[in-house]
């Protein structure tokens, strides 16, 4: 069983969590008119065989969203952080209306 060290609840079985997919995907700005940017946001995934940053939500626990760094080849977990603490993952700033 995959086990995730939740920053709030400690080491828990992964079936307490819900998977939220690739955490490195960045949403384009709301007013981004480029269809290519939206296409990449919705569909394109790096899908690495190796370290993968991904969201998990501790649904049967503290209900926090986490960002977990896990090796997709052997499930070894390198780091777990609260998603809201990750200032690096800010959406691009919205452009002011013209």
């Amino acid at each position: 069983m995959l086990r995730i060290e939740c920053p709030c609840c400690g080491l828990r079985d992964h079936d307490e969590f819900r998977y939220g997919g690739d955490a490195s995907v960045m949403r384009p700005a709301h007013d981004d008119p480029d269809p290519q940017a939206w296409y990449r946001y919705v569909y394109i995934r790096a899908n690495p065989a190796g370290l993968h940053r991904e969201f998990w939500q501790h649904v049967i626990g503290c209900r926090q969203w986490l960002v977990v760094e896990r090796d997709t080849r052997n499930h070894a977990i390198a780091s777990v952080e609260l998603a809201r603490q990750l200032s690096a993952r800010k959406s691009p700033a919205r452009k002011p209306p013209a």
Binding site: Y39, N47, E54, T72, R73, H75
Partner: protein, 418 residues
């Protein structure tokens, strides 16, 4: 290549069955080939066979990083069916079914194709309505399909839960009599042997580590056995398409997920058909050795590990017992995992790529085994002519960009989004 026949068994019996030749040569790579197919699974081997058989392209190599049959072609639950609803899928999978029906003869190899029939149970009047829709589409395309009511289902498969306490009572089922199973290893071996008979080099333990380029074109591959030149390169490495695609510079709408399969201890004959549970994700057939072979959902997170987690074992067992309470005391013998390319619409991708000289066959999600012959046939055509075969017109990589997704199952890597 010596033909297999009753006579050849008899003749070899005279020498104690000791003089059979290898089914295919242990080839070492030549400096270059007209076509290199990466991936010695069912799809790659079938592609090489049809390149030689249908298009006369015999200077072909199949590069396999492990051994033939060690990937998903040897890990699936062997179900073959053509009960698809959407245009593009319906015709492709029926073409595949027709190739299955002639495969043992075409390959001179017994793939033990058993058309035992497949049914999917319906658990509400609405679900049965949607199955009628599907059955009508199938029949209009010349595919056999029947709608069964509850009593029909009870006569066919009396071991399902027809009690008053069934969590999801059975209302009926959709049935395809020509569906069934095949011996999956034999499919890999049969295609390997037949391709080798046409002069195709099958090179095992040869991992592709990069691509050779001339300008923007791909002109060969770097491997653990050295550089090999190629006029064209076909990728048939479902499960690892993203890994090799990244080496070629392709951005792909694919996530790799692990799907588990299970086999129980051998039982006396019980399950005569392939039975799929319409109220959950569970499907079961019985092997010739007597084991119940079944599968269920993905583990649900990106994975390249060919093993799954116990949570899914429990979920699948729960679904199994909800449908077939009689197997609650049967012991599980083995369970294993295979790595799936999951596309956002759960349909495959077979097409030329924007990179000159590179062709893509992947994204098979849960359902690649049944497609093996048609995938090889159409991919060979695509590589030989440079244009997609008409049967795979709907499987282009561009469909995500243009909004022409083929969302048959609502079962991509994030099914909850669909």
């Amino acid at each position: 290549m010596a033909r297999y026949s009753a006579f050849s068994i008899f003749r070899n019996a005279l020498s104690g069955q000791k003089n059979w030749q290898r089914a295919w040569r242990a080839a070492e790579p030549k400096p270059s080939y007209d076509v290199i197919v990466i991936g010695g699974g069912g799809h790659g081997l079938a592609t090489a066979f049809y390149l030689a058989e249908n298009h006369g392209i015999r200077n072909v190599a199949v590069l396999e990083k492990g051994y033939v049959g060690g990937g998903n072609v040897g890990r699936n639950t062997t179900v073959i069916r053509s009960n698809y609803l959407l245009d593009g899928n319906t015709q492709f999978y029926e073409f595949s079914m027709k190739l299955w029906e002639g495969m043992s003869r075409a390959l001179n190899f017994n793939v033990m194709f058993s058309q035992r029939g497949q049914l999917v149970t319906a658990h509400s009047a609405d679900q049965l309505d949607s199955f009628s829709h599907r059955a009508n589409v199938m029949r209009l395309n010349g595919i056999d399909a029947d709608i069964l009511d509850r009593e029909d289902v009870r006569r066919l498969v009396p071991y399902l839960d027809f009690s008053d306490t069934a969590r999801f009572p059975i209302h009926g089922a959709i049935f395809q009599g020509r569906a069934g199973t095949a011996r999956h290893d034999a499919v890999a071996w049969g295609y390997a042997r037949a391709a080798d008979g046409h002069g195709v080099d099958i090179i095992q333990n040869c991992e592709v580590t990069g691509f050779l380029r001339d300008g923007d074109s791909i002109v060969g591959v770097e491997t653990t056995k050295g550089r090999i030149g190629a006029g064209k390169v076909g990728l048939a490495v479902a499960g690892h398409t993203s890994v090799l695609g990244a080496k070629a510079g392709l951005e792909l709408p694919i996530e790799s997920h692990v799907l588990q399969a299970f086999v129980t201890e051998p039982l006396k004959p019980l399950v005569d058909h392939v039975v799929a549970y319409g109220a959950d994700h569970f499907y079961v057939s019985q092997s010739d050795k007597g084991g119940l072979v079944f599968g269920g959902n993905l583990d649900g997170y990106n994975s390249y590990a060919q093993r799954g987690n116990l949570g899914v074992v429990r979920e699948v067992a729960e679904a199994a017992i909800a449908l077939m309470p009689c197997i609650s005391r049967v012991r599980l013998l083995r369970h294993w995992g295979g790595v799936m390319d999951m596309t956002p619409d759960a349909s495959p991708i077979i097409c030329p790529t924007p990179i000159e000289g590179l062709f893509l066959n992947g994204g098979w999600c849960y359902g690649g085994f049944k497609a093996t012959p048609a995938s090889g046939w159409c991919f060979a055509h695509t590589i030989a002519t440079g244009k997609p075969h008409p049967l795979i017109a709907a499987y282009g990589l561009d469909r995500f960009r243009t909004g022409h997704t083929l969302d048959e199952a609502g079962a991509g890597p994030s099914a909850w989004l669909q």
